[in-house]
């Protein structure tokens, strides 16, 4: 079984915060920690795709949600997944007052800065889980 940590963003389509969750996942799984993480399509999980269900039960998951509905977190909880951290974009924005993301199609400089901040947080969680940070 793969030991990669699953990074699961909300679908987030139609909202700037959703774009931030997706871009964070692309950055972490594609650039920053490609050997330690992998993404999963949330639609597959909510449609109870067998492969997605089996994977979610066997691996650690970091959820990233763009709005208060917390679709990603709730979906993993519903399927008894092992969430090691639930990240909410709104919390990160509160911690970084002054950063105002743009629109869903152009999240702007502040939006990309938020992607970097959240990506760094996710990488720290992955490294901690893998025993690289104590």
């Amino acid at each position: 079984m793969s030991k990669k940590i699953i990074i699961l963003p909300c679908s987030g389509i139609g909202k700037a915060f959703g774009t931030i969750t997706r871009e964070t996942v692309f950055k972490v799984t594609g650039e920053l920690r490609p050997n330690d993480s992998e993404k999963m399509c949330l639609s597959l999980l909510v449609k109870e795709d067998e492969e997605a269900l089996s994977k979610i039960k066997g691996q650690k998951v970091i959820t990233i949600d763009g709005c208060a509905k917390l679709c990603s977190q709730k979906s993993v909880e519903y399927h008894s997944g092992n969430i090691v951290e639930s990240i909410k974009v709104m919390d990160i924005i509160r911690e970084n007052k002054g950063l105002k993301p743009g629109t869903v199609t152009n999240i702007g400089e502040d939006g990309w800065r938020l992607v970097e901040i959240i990506s760094e947080k996710v990488c720290n969680i992955i490294d901690t889980e893998n025993g690289r940070i104590k």
Binding site: C10, S11, G14, C41, S43, L44, V46, K69, K74
Partner: protein
């Protein structure tokens, strides 16, 4: 643009064609100001989008064979105005998609071609005079079925637009506040030849799960237990005169009542979507239709 549309794309996270799906939806949002429906939010909180779907025609965009967006629409009983399947659309462009998830110039080019195709389709519909092409209603749409075969019996389950009660009745919206009610294909086959139907009077008001009509077949007498609360606005006189229509065409010509819905938001919580109903019904079929 005269007609109003909203867009339901798949999530499209983990595949290059999913990225094209999302970018196409965003172009429709940016250029035509169409509302984008988040597929997961729709799945988790369908009531939030109730008004959107009554006010708009629905365009569904799927990026892969899993067709998550179509399935989510079907599970919520939504009527789809246009289905866009990205692999087919890409073939039409003659271009090869990238294998990366990042958005390249090639991806943008493909997306713009697909967008233009959809835009042209929307505009073409707008250009058709209303007299010669009346607005398509839910009832004009072809019903697509899932099929379950058991011995010599073939059971049909409408993929979308219908919700079911555990008593084997269906409800199908025909406008914002009205719906049709009928008997499922499974139950009409179980009852066998239907010989007599007694329908309630127009104006009769009832609650969900009230007994409101009688059905008599060669095998049994059965009560129509309403899947929803409402007031009868029309009855199908053809069915009263020719009850076998229920056997011949349970989901179309064999509808029984039209009603004004009075408590649908709550009633729907006790109704089943196609896949759930099919799963439960197959168990009944295995019990009742022994090979």
């Amino acid at each position: 643009m005269d007609k109003k549309y909203c867009v339901l794309p798949c999530n499209g996270l983990d595949k290059p064609l999913g990225q094209i799906t999302r970018e196409t939806a965003l172009l429709l949002y940016e250029k035509l100001n169409l509302e984008i429906i988040c597929p997961v939010l729709l799945n988790n909180d369908p009531v939030k989008f109730k008004d959107t779907f009554f006010d708009n025609n629905l365009i569904v965009i799927d990026g892969c064979m899993t067709r998550c967006a179509s399935k989510i629409a079907a599970n919520n009983g939504l009527s789809i105005s246009k289905k866009v399947f990205i692999p087919d659309e890409i073939k039409k462009t003659g271009l090869a998609p990238d294998k990366t998830l990042r958005i390249s110039e090639n991806t943008i080019k493909i997306t713009e071609l697909i967008y233009k195709d959809i835009e042209a389709l929307i505009k073409m519909e707008d250009d058709i005079p209303t007299e010669s092409a009346p607005k398509t209603t839910v009832l004009d749409e072809k019903i697509e079925f899932k099929i379950h075969t058991h011995d010599k019996y073939i059971f049909r389950f409408p993929e979308s637009g219908f919700l079911f009660s555990e008593n084997d009745f269906w409800v199908r919206h025909i406008s914002k506040d009205t719906a049709r009610i009928g008997l499922s294909d499974f139950m009409q086959q179980y009852l066998s030849d239907i010989m007599f139907v007694e329908l309630p009077a127009v104006g009769k008001e009832f609650e969900q799960f009230d007994e409101i009509a009688g059905i008599e077949s060669t095998k049994s007498v059965y009560q129509l237990i309403s899947p929803v609360s409402g007031i009868v606005t029309a009855i199908n006189k053809d069915v009263e005169e020719t009850p076998e229509l229920i056997n011949e065409s349970p989901y179309e010509k064999g509808w029984m009542l039209e009603i004004k819905l009075t408590n649908f938001d709550e009633d729907r919580e006790l109704l089943l979507k196609c896949e759930e109903y099919m799963e439960r019904t197959i168990k009944k079929i295995n019990l009742e239709f022994k090979k």
